[in-house]
């Protein structure tokens, strides 16, 4: 008897539509499959290279610079402390504009590279002024 059999109306169209939908929805996944963006390698300026070491070790700077910058801005603005001493006893003026960007004057090749890769857009440069482009060595 017919009554027990469930009939799909417009089955062909529905299934075709479903297939098209699934393909479109998963398009970004299979299109980019196996094409992971290469891990960016930030470039150092000549000045940064001759310094050899930042205020802390490279690994720490990589993972902690945002926290450090946040601490710096609070201690400078709120507590009027402006000098930072590294564990090695070296002293720096706590200033993004005047200390960090003095060495790392190549925002596009240094800061932006990783920030773009991990899709973060810190608002530092809304106010702090990006150093003018370094003339090529």
């Amino acid at each position: 008897m017919m009554s027990n059999e469930k009939k799909m109306f417009d089955g062909g169209k529905v299934i075709a539509g479903l297939i098209v939908f699934v393909i479109l929805a998963t398009f970004p996944f299979w299109y980019n499959h196996g094409k992971a963006a290469p891990i960016p390698e930030p470039k150092l300026t000549e000045k940064a290279k001759t310094e050899k070491v930042c205020i802390l070790k490279k690994e720490l700077m990589k993972s902690e610079h945002m926290q450090i910058l946040n601490d710096w801005r609070n201690t400078v603005v709120r507590n009027t402390n402006r000098i930072y001493e590294t564990p090695e006893g070296k002293r720096y003026d706590m200033s993004l504009s005047n200390t960090c960007l003095d060495c790392h004057s190549n925002k596009a090749d240094f800061c932006d590279k990783c920030h773009n890769y991990v899709a973060v857009s810190p608002y530092c440069w809304d106010c702090h002024i990006e150093k003018p482009k370094e003339t090529k060595e």
């Binding site: 402006r82 564990p87 002024i129």
Partner: protein
């Protein structure tokens, strides 16, 4: 039989939960005590100028016309990247000029001496001892520092403009537009502001921190005198001892730290 299956499922469920929870707990533990960086040692600059309440005396006897004030205003606005807006309603001011009856509305006399009637008076943030803007700020972006400077943390300003409503001196300006295109020469050592924040004079706290007097004081040829109000030997107090001064809208109780010799 039934009860033992039930017990089995219970135990299986709980242990699955335990195994699943471990990575989550680990993650939280890691993000909590994440700071591997050694505890930072921070200091004040040894050259920094210190005070209990910074104050200024403006000797208006030394000014004759706007021309005398121009270099002072220019010096300030240049180093602090203050934009020059053509539209008056978007104007940003840190230090500017005002006529006597606007600067001192409560001291207005029926007859003013000719010299004073149209003399431009230099006005700026009064760095009040009892600042109403600080009380109005909902985010504590504006606060009073231990040296008396009423400072703004631009990072924290949400642009609500309560402080502008609270300030009786009009010392605060709001960035209705992105200020950058309106700055002729930017000083890379000092940040600009962005659209949507309030700004005002900071008594050159960035200069005091490296042992320099405020830019306006330096550019004034001795017409502006700067010092510690709490130190009886300071140049400001020495002057206040011998000369009669007035302050802007004193009766409001904000206790301005900028004094005027008329």
């Amino acid at each position: 039989m039934k009860s033992s299956r039930r017990r089995f499922l219970k135990i299986a469920g709980i242990s699955a939960l335990g195994i699943g929870a471990k990575p989550v707990v680990d993650l939280f533990a890691a993000s909590g005590g994440h700071r591997e960086a050694p505890e930072a040692k921070v200091y004040k600059n040894e050259k920094a100028l210190k005070a209990k309440q910074w104050a200024m005396v403006i000797d208006t006897r030394k000014f004759k016309s706007s021309k005398d004030l121009e270099p002072i205003i220019e010096a300030c606005h240049k180093i602090h990247n203050v934009p020059k807006m053509d539209n008056k309603r978007h104007e940003i001011k840190w230090i500017w000029e005002e006529e006597f009856h606007n600067a001192f509305p409560l001291q207005e006399a029926r007859f003013l001496p000719e010299r004073i009637e149209h003399l431009p008076f230099l006005v700026l943030c009064n760095q009040c001892e009892n600042p109403p803007c600080v009380r109005a700020c909902p985010t504590k972006a504006t606060f009073k520092r231990e040296d008396g400077i009423v400072l703004m943390d631009f990072h924290r300003c949400i642009g609500c403009r309560f402080c502008m409503a609270a300030c009786p001196y009009g010392s605060r300006s709001f960035n209705f537009r992105d200020p950058r295109p309106f700055i002729k020469e930017t000083n890379p050592k000092f940040p600009t502001r962005m659209k949507g924040v309030v700004e005002k004079c900071n008594f050159c706290e960035e200069r005091l921190a490296i042992g320099q007097a405020p830019a306006c004081v330096e550019a004034s040829n001795g017409a502006l005198i700067f010092g510690d109000l709490e130190d009886p030997g300071s140049p400001v107090r020495e002057l206040l001892k011998t000369t009669f001064t007035i302050r802007r809208k004193q009766s409001l109780g904000t206790s301005p730290a900028v004094y005027y010799i008329i």
